[in-house]
Symmetry: none
Subunit: 210 residues, 4 copies
Amino acid sequence: MIVKSDALTARGRRTRETLVRAGREAFDEHGYEAVRVDDVCARAGVSHGTFYTYFASKEALFREVAAAVVGEMFAASVVGPAASGDPYARIEAANRLYLRAWSANSRLVRMLEQAATAEEGLRELLLELREVFVRRGADGLRRLQEQGLADPALDPRLTAIMLGGMVEHFARVWLDLGEPADERAAVDLLTRLWARAIGLTPASTSAEDT
Amino acid sequence: MIVKSDALTARGRRTRETLVRAGREAFDEHGYEAVRVDDVCARAGVSHGTFYTYFASKEALFREVAAAVVGEMFAASVVGPAASGDPYARIEAANRLYLRAWSANSRLVRMLEQAATAEEGLRELLLELREVFVRRGADGLRRLQEQGLADPALDPRLTAIMLGGMVEHFARVWLDLGEPADERAAVDLLTRLWARAIGLTPASTSAEDT
Amino acid sequence: MIVKSDALTARGRRTRETLVRAGREAFDEHGYEAVRVDDVCARAGVSHGTFYTYFASKEALFREVAAAVVGEMFAASVVGPAASGDPYARIEAANRLYLRAWSANSRLVRMLEQAATAEEGLRELLLELREVFVRRGADGLRRLQEQGLADPALDPRLTAIMLGGMVEHFARVWLDLGEPADERAAVDLLTRLWARAIGLTPASTSAEDT
Amino acid sequence: MIVKSDALTARGRRTRETLVRAGREAFDEHGYEAVRVDDVCARAGVSHGTFYTYFASKEALFREVAAAVVGEMFAASVVGPAASGDPYARIEAANRLYLRAWSANSRLVRMLEQAATAEEGLRELLLELREVFVRRGADGLRRLQEQGLADPALDPRLTAIMLGGMVEHFARVWLDLGEPADERAAVDLLTRLWARAIGLTPASTSAEDT
DNA sequence: AATGAATGAGAATTCATTCAT
DNA sequence: AATGAATGAATTCTCATTCAT
């Protein structure tokens, strides 16, 4: 007798949101397996009977949390046309956003990866998330290639996957494994490596040096 | 009650090895949580009672499996002085090895990462594994810098982490998420990006082209 | 808090009746245990809260449903003086009514039997129901014995229980277990067996044959 | 990890049997729904973990109990050629056995009937049980008809169902609903009604009277 | 009268681990 | 060394019922 989100009173909506928030925190802190439904309920301050008023199972809650995370990351991935001019600056801005988005959610994304092995629906969500970032990277590279600013021999998609993976992976190592580094330095280096790797022509790169 | 590895009859050693092998396969296929001790025993063809003759717990078995995996990856990470001459070729060889080593064990390494969150001992093992690869990468880069073949401004350790992460991460996406690509093309592109990123001077790079 | 039936507005009476009807259908289709209060409410189109405005518990609803069923069966058990004349024809008419009454409600009666084990009140209801049919059968037999048409050695009550049970039981086997038979043939045979069993004298029986 | 019955040590077999016995008693006393797995375990003196070593679920235990009951009833239904000669005496003997067999298991059989509604496998078991008794009755009648001792116009199967139902149903009313009667009188009357109903010719019937 | 959110006792089941043989 | 029966803590989920609005 799960109640759908759009058939709820204000109070119901509030409770539901509280549960999602509590679940997100709990999953993020302890991992999917380690979280018991009762933990989430305790954190949300409701009985576990109430939990099942809103979610059919722990997994259903996770799906909801995962969807929220993915949604936020989509939102965070938009560079905005502001940082316009300089290609190098654009890459830098994108990398900063990328690093932040993944840093903020790295544990949940990894849980999603893990859970995606078993759950069909989650797998799709994960692939979709990845695709958004890959496509963004690939499109950016293609544009630079068309402008004659990047090595035209590089396969845009594969390159985007690899360099995007470099950023994503660093987010993990940095935060989850505690590799010491400060954001500025990290973004600087990631950007430099990225730019060089795609052969961003000296013209723009040197702009920074002057 | 647990029998130490070196105080075993030949028969005992065989049983123990069978269990480790069975555990490794099971963990790799289904993940740590999803594997029951009984599954491992069934696969190894021994009773549950026997399991506890050799391992104090499921976790102890995992530790053993993880150690074996890490050992193999260490072994696999040695480039060998054979591919000597050309820096680019060395990087290429290293990338091929790197990619293969991580591909072969990506699921288990991820499980190790996950488990490391909770277990102190595993955390150390994981950091150690990572360190070996990072150091190898950093050392290689430092050597190139000393020879004037790579950008001396790059922090060797951070650069190695980032570029190594690129390879490691690609191994996951490629195998676990099924991104289509063939090894040759992948190694080629990874190497090209890596070389360019560290500013490997044309002199050597072009050596390949001629 | 429970509103009594006679202190209700027209609207309230309607809601209450809807619930009883919905409960009866649900119980009949799925059995007492399998029916959740929510199922009844959904079927009746009211909220669970409303249910408790009219019934103190699920069991209270069942009691009401059971009483209704028993009432209907009482009503159905009246042969009416119409089929007067011939004793055999009277038995046949009674058997037809008997078979129909039990057929129509066999599942609910069985649930009542089952529930009666635990609930004192229901036990009485059940015994009362049974008694009506037993008494009717016994009275009929006694009359025939007095008229010299049936074996005077038979204990009227016990005989009525046994022959009545034959009809009742056949209703179950026929409908619930799907033993194929058509009503006409079944009533014919039941009547023939019944008449012969009580030694209904040829005089009347043969009346049918001529 | 349910262990099959034939792969058990003596101790295991003993435990399993204890559980079946405990389950049978519990079901008989309280009904399927009212019995918790823990009740059975407590009665058997084992932990509930042990229960699941032998049975996959409460339902699986019930299936086993039901099969045992049906087996016993099959065994009990054999009249044996001893009571040979007199048809009336044979019917009487059969009725006594019939009444006893159903009396001894009436609650469990009713539970089986109830459960059969939901479970396919149980339904078959029930139908099989019924069929054995029906066939036995039908065969007996057919033989009498061939010998010219019973009304040849009666459909053997339908008649057996009806008269068998009379006995079966009486067993319920007698034991479960507490209708007072002693076995001798009940068997006498059931037999007299049965014999008369099928038109068992006076020749044999009167044999009893002399 | 009606609603529907909240409750929590209760039941089934899993599985790592122990221990007698 | 090996076996496998026994254990019980832990966890998920259900559903009748209460109560504030």
